[in-house]
């Protein structure tokens, strides 16, 4: 039962091959085997959103996906959303609007916000509150996060 399975997947545009136990979570494989420690794990049962990544372009909890389920998938982590130089519009907005304090939840928030704004270019404030409700933060009180979502939405739609 400890047999390891070979999984091939694309992570941040790069083809990867890993040998994993079937029970290995995608989050753990990203962190421990591929060294992508930007993806954070907190609750490990799908509630907090810290481990959010993109799987085939859609935001998903990497703690609720076994790596074996990601065979053939294209995964994007927060590292993959970061431009080679500087910050993405969402990351910039998080910095500008004090959308983080300790930063532990930030990668999941950046991934969720990026995914949402990619498909919802002109959200209302109420929609942004709903969209960000799947990511828990224990320090900012959320207002900074929502302000960042607003700024990112406005700047991204203005530049597109």
């Amino acid at each position: 039962m400890n047999d390891r399975t070979r999984v091939q997947l694309t992570v941040n545009g790069q083809r990867e091959q890993v040998e994993v136990e079937p029970r290995a979570l995608l989050a753990d494989v990203l962190r421990d085997q591929l060294g992508l420690t930007g993806t954070h794990l907190a609750c490990e049962h799908g509630v907090c959103g810290a481990c959010t990544v993109l799987i085939d372009g859609e935001a998903a909890r990497s703690c609720l996906v076994f790596a074996v389920q990601a065979e053939g998938a294209s995964v994007t982590t927060v590292e993959g959303l970061t431009p080679p130089d500087g910050l993405s519009p969402v990351q910039e907005a998080m910095r500008d609007c004090h959308g983080l304090q300790c930063g532990f939840c930030t990668p999941g928030i950046v991934v969720s916000m990026t995914a949402y704004l990619d498909t919802h270019p002109n959200p209302t404030d109420a929609e942004l509150r709903d969209a960000m409700s799947g990511n828990l933060c224990r320090c900012t009180g959320y207002q900074g996060i929502l302000a960042a979502a607003r700024q990112a939405a406005d700047r991204m739609s203005a530049s597109s």
Binding site: M1, N2, D3, T5, E21, P22, R23, L25, D28, C43, E44, H45, G46, G49, T52, I55, E58, A59, A60, R61, C63, L64, V65, F66, V68, Q69, E71, S112, A115, Y116, R129, D130, A131, S133, G134
Partner: protein, 286 residues
């Protein structure tokens, strides 16, 4: 908070799925989107030596519309159903999906998985029950259909036999002049509803010709409110929807839990039914 060990099977044909379920019996569990199963495994509330992953069975990921119904394959992910033109013909289903968890959950969670999981607080079992959906089960003896009214037995318990897999759900289409609504009370968007009501109506002039009312979070299964439906149909155009809500709530015996007391759930039941009916009627009239 890590699942226990298991062997992963990834068949590509439904026959292989059925074969694996027969071979491993109680030691095997079907893995669809995993958005309920994996947390339960992480919390060690569930452990299975064998998981039969159905994601690669292409025939389970189809959506097809016929004259009378839309058939949704078990592995159709909720985010896809949310955007699908055929699913849009089943407005109650389309309206219920955004209430499920968060978009990061719906991207993986499946229509069939949610219905087979049969959580009494979840939306899709209630949609199936409200619309008199037919559950398609595939097992060693072939395919059979189970009426939604006979499918949900208790919390996480369904009429699926050992060795059967829920392979699709057929949602009947309602005619013109219909309206549908989903109303929930939850602490936060995306949380499990403390209580919820799903309603559908078809109007014949000002008269309600057809109605469905189903509640969630008030028992060990979603609950269809037949008496309230009959009262709504029997009543005239000026039926007091508060009365219908009270009829719906009268037989309910909701439970206490850490999120809400039984008394609270009982208290808000008529109001949530009224809200759902008001919205459904408004849509039917428009």
């Amino acid at each position: 908070m890590k699942p226990s060990q298991f062997q992963h099977h990834a068949p590509e044909q439904i026959d292989e799925v059925v074969g694996l379920l027969a071979e491993y019996g109680d030691d095997a569990k079907v893995l669809a989107g995993g958005q309920s199963l994996i947390p339960m495994m992480a919390l060690r509330m569930a452990a299975y030596p064998h998981l039969v992953d159905i994601a690669r069975v292409a025939s389970l990921s189809t959506i097809s519309a016929s004259a009378g119904a839309v058939r949704v394959g078990a592995m159709v992910r909720q985010s896809r159903a949310e955007r699908d033109a055929s699913v849009a013909k089943v407005p109650l289903l389309a309206k219920a999906i955004p209430h499920i968890g968060h978009f990061q959950i719906r991207s993986r969670g499946t229509v069939g998985g949610s219905i087979a999981h049969a959580d009494p607080a979840s939306e899709l079992p209630a949609v199936a029950l409200a619309l008199d959906a037919r559950i398609e089960a595939t097992g060693p003896g072939g395919v059979r259909h189970i009426d939604a009214s006979e499918f949900f037995l208790s919390t996480w318990q369904t009429a699926l036999d050992d060795g059967e897999i829920l392979s699709a759900v057929e949602f009947p289409l309602w005619g013109a002049n219909s309206g549908f609504a989903v109303e929930e009370i939850a602490r936060r968007k995306g949380d499990f509803a403390l209580i919820g009501a799903l309603a559908g109506v078809t109007l014949d002039g000002a008269r309600v010709a057809r109605a469905c009312i189903t509640m969630i979070g008030v028992g060990s299964t979603p609950i269809r409110c037949h008496d309230a439906e009959a009262a709504l149909i029997a009543g005239g155009a000026d039926t007091d929807l508060d009365d219908i809500g009270r009829i719906a709530a009268a037989p309910l015996t909701p439970a206490d839990d850490v999120h809400a007391s039984a008394e609270y759930r009982q208290h808000v039941s008529p109001a949530i039914v009224r809200r759902a009916l008001t919205a459904a009627l408004k849509e039917a009239r428009s």
